[in-house]
Amino acid sequence: MAELSDTPAQPHAAVSFLKQTANTVCSLLITFLGLLAVTFIIARIVPVDPVTAILGERATGEQIATLRTKLGLDDPLWQQFLIYIRDVFHGDLGLSIRTRDPILSEIGRYFPATLELSTLGIIIGIFIGIPAGVLGATKPGSWRDQIVRLIGLMGYSMPVFWLGLMGLLLFYGHLGWVGGPGRLDSMYEMMLDMKVKPVTHMILIDTALAGEWDMFRNALSHIILPASILGYLSMAYISRMTRSFMMNELGQEYITTARVKGMPERRVIWVHAMRNVAVPLITVIALSYANLLEGAVLTETIFAWPGLGRYITDALLINDMPAVLGGTIVVGAVYIGINMFSDFLYRLADPRAK
């Protein structure tokens, strides 16, 4: 009845690892330049005039002219774009209108908080998402599968800001199980600068390094809710993809081979199939990690989390466009970096890709 399915064979590309990596780097560089082009265009069509934004409404005509020349606004557009690229590659994202500080160093202070939050989130997502997906795939169509599927789809359907508010309402307001908004209780927040040296700007790591375990516990109670919420979002995606990859692998002939060899089902799934699922899953995890950085924008607003997302939204509300665009560029660059890294891991994990 069912003869072997005819999936196309993997092409045996004899392209060397190095050459492929160089290719990827090249194409990502072009993507990055494109990203800069888009932010540049956005920056130039902003209705807010950068000169008035800096000097205020009452500047004299002479002051405006000097500043325009200084900012290079009188040069042709393409020249401005080249200068813009040069500046970005030198790490100069301009000055924030609000604080007059260099944007890059501001982001350097905000970004670790986001990184900490989303890393914890993705870890939660992986540890729940993969087993959940496997659970669904091993009994497709069963109740178990439907429940996993429903929980996953619910994650896809929740507005993250609302989920955050509901989480605060329930776990902080009613049950008091977790800390409220912010990274620490205000008492600890005041002690933070005195007692803890900001080594990584990640609060869990810094407090642990300083040996301030009370503070560490407090920080944990604050981060656990937003991280779980982000973890739930990524779990939704990871479990769905795991399920579909796993279903695909379980239909393969080598699975039958493993069963013929008398391997227990546990080993068939978690060793034979999982090793194959892991390869495409790398890309999925990287993608959901990148998405978490984005999910962090809204989550950070809810949880008063001093991260990049909050930095961007705060800047937006007071029309601080250089800060908004600087933040966008950084997030875009991280996106691209994650892509590149996952591409690299993918080719390490799949022996056929070499």
């Binding site: 494109g34 990203l35 439907q146 896809y156 929740m158 507005p159 993250v160 605060l168 998405n291 809204l298």
Partner: protein
């Protein structure tokens, strides 16, 4: 009924119409067996019903304020979902809000997929440098975090419903272009395309008349799966004050208004969030079920 059933189940259809009808019927039977997908269908139909008949269903005006009734808890007589800080009935606002949600979704799904479809088919059909350039541009847009690009765009264009739609559409077309291009590549070299070309059909005619219809099923499946995402992004923009502006009863905006007194008057933020959640869950369940029955590759059975 029985005769209709035998007609539909006839293994040797006598006309094209019969075979099509039988195919559709079989798809429907398969779809109906999936309880979650049916729930999704019912929710989606309910949303459409709600938004059409909002003025008839809503007990109160969604905008008119009545400060005497402010912050009534749920199950208050006349306000079963309670009232907000301006004394407006939350249920009425949610009903009218469904119109805004549906309107945004409709605007996005008639712009982004169409644009993506054009880019993808042209790119796939012509290949070569056209393909390289178009796909590079697509990649650039894909490299942007969607919500943040939408934020930046709205910041430039100024807040408002139309600008929010524009920003969402501008950030959501690339996946459609990818899907359409992949489909185009598979049909481009098929014999029937070659035959049509030999008859002297122009590139436009080929793309429009022969390639685009082939791409439609996969694009439609993506659209249903994306609708929930559109709703969530629109609500997110509204929540940040960058989308629909007050006093319009947009759900994200309503949540943001309720945030101020979350711990005291929880229902103001909870109710509109529930509405967003149920509606996007409905679209997701529907899209998921549709994909299972329409896309043979994902069936996996």
């Amino acid at each position: 009924m029985t005769t209709l059933n035998t007609w539909l189940m006839d293994p040797n259809p006598k006309s094209r119409l019969q075979s099509r009808a039988a195919q559709t019927w079989l798809t429907w039977l398969r779809f109906r067996r999936n309880p979650l997908a049916m729930i999704g269908l019912i929710i989606s139909l309910a949303l459409i019903f709600m938004s059409i008949f909002a003025p008839l269903l809503a007990p109160y005006d969604p905008i008119a304020q009545s400060l005497a009734d402010r912050l009534q808890p749920p199950l208050t007589p006349g306000h079963w979902m309670g009232t907000d800080d301006f004394g407006r009935d939350i249920w009425s606002r949610i009903l009218f809000g469904s119109r805004i949600t549906l309107y945004i979704v409709l605007l996005v799904i008639i712009t982004a997929p169409v644009f993506g479809l054009i880019v993808g088919t042209v790119s796939g059909y012509f290949g070569g440098w056209v393909d390289s350039v178009l796909m590079r541009i697509t990649d650039i847009f894909l490299a942007f975090p969607k919500l943040i690009l939408a934020l930046a765009l709205v910041a430039v264009l100024g807040p408002g419903m139309v600008n929010a739609v524009l920003a969402i559409a501008l950030t959501s077309w690339p996946p459609y272009a990818r899907v359409a291009r992949a489909e185009t590549l598979t049909v481009r070299n098929s014999d029937y395309i070659a035959a049509t070309r030999l008859q002297g059909a122009s590139a436009t005619r080929l793309i429009w008349g022969h390639i685009m219809p082939m791409c439609l099923p996969s694009v439609i499946i993506r659209v249903t799966l994306d609708m929930a995402g559109v709703i969530l992004t629109a609500a997110g923009l509204g929540f940040l004050g960058l989308g629909v502006q007050p006093p319009l009863p947009e759900w994200g905006l309503m949540i943001s208004a309720g945030r101020k007194f979350l711990f005291e008057q929880w229902w103001v933020a909870t109710m509109p969030g529930l509405a967003i959640f149920i509606v996007s869950l409905g679209f997701n369940l529907l899209g998921d079920g549709l994909r299972d029955v329409l896309d043979p590759r994902s069936a996996g059975k």
